[in-house]
Amino acid sequence: MKKLVVIGAGMASGRMLEELFDTAPGAYAVTLFNAEPRGNYNRIMLSPVLSGEKSYAEIVTHDDAWYAANAVTCRFGEAVTRIDRARKVVVGAQGEVPYDQLVIATGSAPFIIPVPGRDLPGVITYRDLDDTNAMIEASGKGGSAVVIGGGLLGLEAAAGLRLRGMEVTVLHLSGHLMERQLDEAAGFLLRRDLEHRGIKVMTKASTTAILGDDRVEAVLLEDGTTLPADLVVMAVGIRPETRLATDAGLEVARGIAIDAQMRTSDPDIFAVGECVDFNGQLFGLVAPLYDQAKVLAQTLLGAEAVFVPKELSTKLKVTGCDLFSAGDFAEGPNREDIVFRDPGRGVYKRLVIEDDAIIGAVMYGDTADSNWFFGQIRDGADISTLRDTLIFGPAFQGGAPVDPMAAVAALPPEAEICGCNGVCKGTIVAAINGGASDLAAVKAQTKASASCGTCTGLVEQVLASTLGDRFTRKAVQPVCGCTELTHEDLRRLIKSQSLKSMPAVWQAGAWKTPDGCHVCRPALNFYLLADWPLEYRDDLQSRFINERKHANIQKDGTFSVMPRMWGGITTPDELRAIADAADKFAVPTVKVTGGQRIDLLGVKSEDLPAIWADLNAAGMVSGHAYSKGLRTVKTCVGTDHCRFGTQDSTGLGIKLEKALWGSWTPHKVKLAVSGCPRNCAEATCKDVGIICVDSGFQIGVAGAAGMDLKETERLGQVETEEEAIALTIAFVQLYRENAKYLDRPYKWVAKVGLDWVKERVVDDLAERQRLIDAFAVSQSVYQKDPWAEHVRERSEQYKPVNLSGFAAE
């Protein structure tokens, strides 16, 4: 009988032995080494053992009886020190074993990030039963655990430790969890789900050190955050365990190099499992390992077999977390996404289609059809005829094309339509039968779609299915093709459901694209930062280039730079600095603007940080001449110099500009203060225009002097400068909170009515104060000079990467 030695009793070699003994019992006398003091168990089920939902006994694959029945000589708990290829022996700690054929199945070793403190007691990797038991034991004392790595293993460890009663924080380097298997939208849902379990998740979190004297006490992050920790689990990844192969002089790439028959560079030595490298590919999931095991068993028995890597799928073993991911998300020509979101059920599905076949799928919250989709991916099935209903899975396929109306018509009366107000279909139908014939009437009578508005489309479908052609849908303009929601729906949704991130809005608003488009993203970014100044982080990549680079892009791709001149007042020093900058950066055009300041036109993108730094040094800040925000406050000279002046209009203008600068608004906002009714500052056509009179200040709003020409309307008249500022701020804040993105104030006021605005800004003093306070909170975050910030933190981004030299080499 030929002698087969196997190093490593893991899932791959275990399956290989099963195949071998099933096909040709007695073909080989097998000696099995395992560094762990036990035989083969189902390693991928360790997570439920950690959580307590399974016992170790339940996940043992091969027990002593199985090894005995197959006459396997077990050398468990014994490390192999080396392979002597010349003598064809394996050297173990307790002696040599000769082989005719040798299988290396040493699996993988956890990757340990090279930070100080990684060797402290209490820092545990997560690979085998001993690690699992160590974590279980550590969790028995309670306390805090920090899991480094938000991939499959890390998250399963986090969920298990949380169930065992620990306070758990997951640190993840990337922007969203499981980034290799999930897209951002699914990663967001997973994060929400884990946070619902009381697990803290920190993304973009980079570990600098693990702290502690005798054992681990805390984890220090790059940003200086310190997290107390009684247990640190390192689950950042694995690498093939190749030491024996390297020492034996076998060919090793990232893993042990093998051919399609699992043969290494030595014809009598084979490798299988996580330790191998096949054409540059490594393997961490179980399905290809089993395929390899089968091929290896055949090869050992002299049969023809070829290993072909197949598409893989991933599931997370956390009870109650239903996610699925398979196939390829990398892009290529002519790939297309089909996205389905059901906010009510927390469901997200995305299919990636290429050449009429599904090549990738991600699902969260509903994985019922995952096997079917996986089958479609593996088979490369032609889905062109199913395309319209593909995302609904196999249940919808095979029959006549499905009309979405039919699905609504088929809903039972008790089916819930409006989740916010708990309105079911029967209630809506009753209201319709009672005379409610349009959306507004249904909303008024049943409250359906009255809160977040995401069910508006469904309510309309119920109207249509009940009334037939007696129902005429009111034409509404959605934000863009990514969603059915209007801007108004979107603003209401963000407020009513306290949505504080883009992925949260995409999910709740059933976005049909993975990450929006150039139309919805800037609007969404503004709505989020206006409603949640403290919680939401401004996303530069969702801004138009002008706001991202804090400069106005010109038609030739250069930019204009305009420093702020408070109330139109400047000094010789400032003028000198501007002139110097214009010389230094060869600015082709210098222009005095209608907003009482000086514009430097034609600056190259890469020069921006330097010119800003020069202007900053002279005490000037960005004029925000590019932003949807406060532009200028135009003034006349007022009482200081003018014989007609009634108040200090310049002083008020400067105060207003200092109060409002830096704030983001739905569209640009221009102010003016005129010192008398002669109106030299042209205040009567501004967004907010103040005319000083003897008895105080007349505040006009909603003027326009652009595409439309419109005189301001009187918001109110006040006696003091303080009140004038208060009313102005309250008006701007109300506009920020309610207007549609890219509506100037005059358009917004026309929609809501001046009386509605007056009620809140002038009459209701408590509301006026709330608006002023809310504005102050926002300014505490956003009133900062973007030039200084970008010069300090982002100047690198403005420089192109210069490859001009390489062609000459």
Binding site: S174, G175, E179, D183, E184, F329, A330, E331, G332, P333, N334, R335, D337, T513, P514, D515, G516, C517, H518, R521, P522, L540, Q541, S542, R543, F544, I545, N546, R548, K549, I553, K555, D556, G557, S605, E796, Q797, P800, V801, N802, L803, S804, F806, A807, A808
Partner: protein
């Protein structure tokens, strides 16, 4: 022959952002998607010459900052009603570094 040249770390490009790369005879825009893939396109919109590196990145496309033409990263084709095309160049990420195909960039410069 493919010669990959390293243009810097992936982190130097913000997610859904871009970086301009100057080459001997013109600029290339290197984009990073929300899913951390990279693509390289000619930086000049065929419509009015807008710098694509300054556009908004969404899905696998960029919107030109000047007049909102949308270009697909994989084909370089303008989407929707607009017709036009920008050149695309091989780009990839390896070990956290962004690599461009030098040979293709040279070919471009010779052709230009």
């Amino acid at each position: 022959m493919t010669t990959w040249i390293d243009i810097g770390p992936l982190d130097a490009i913000p997610p859904r952002g871009a970086r301009k790369v100057t080459t001997p005879l013109g600029c290339v825009a290197v984009f990073r998607t929300g899913a951390d893939e990279v693509y390289a396109l000619e930086n000049r919109c065929p419509h009015k010459g807008g710098p694509l590196a300054d556009g908004i990145v969404h899905g696998h496309a960029v919107t030109c900052p000047l007049h909102n033409w949308v270009f697909d990263f994989t084909t370089g084709e303008a989407q929707g009603a607009d017709t036009g095309r920008v050149a695309t160049y091989p780009a990839r990420v390896e070990g956290g570094r962004v690599l461009l195909d030098a040979a293709r960039l040279q070919a471009r410069s010779q052709a230009a």
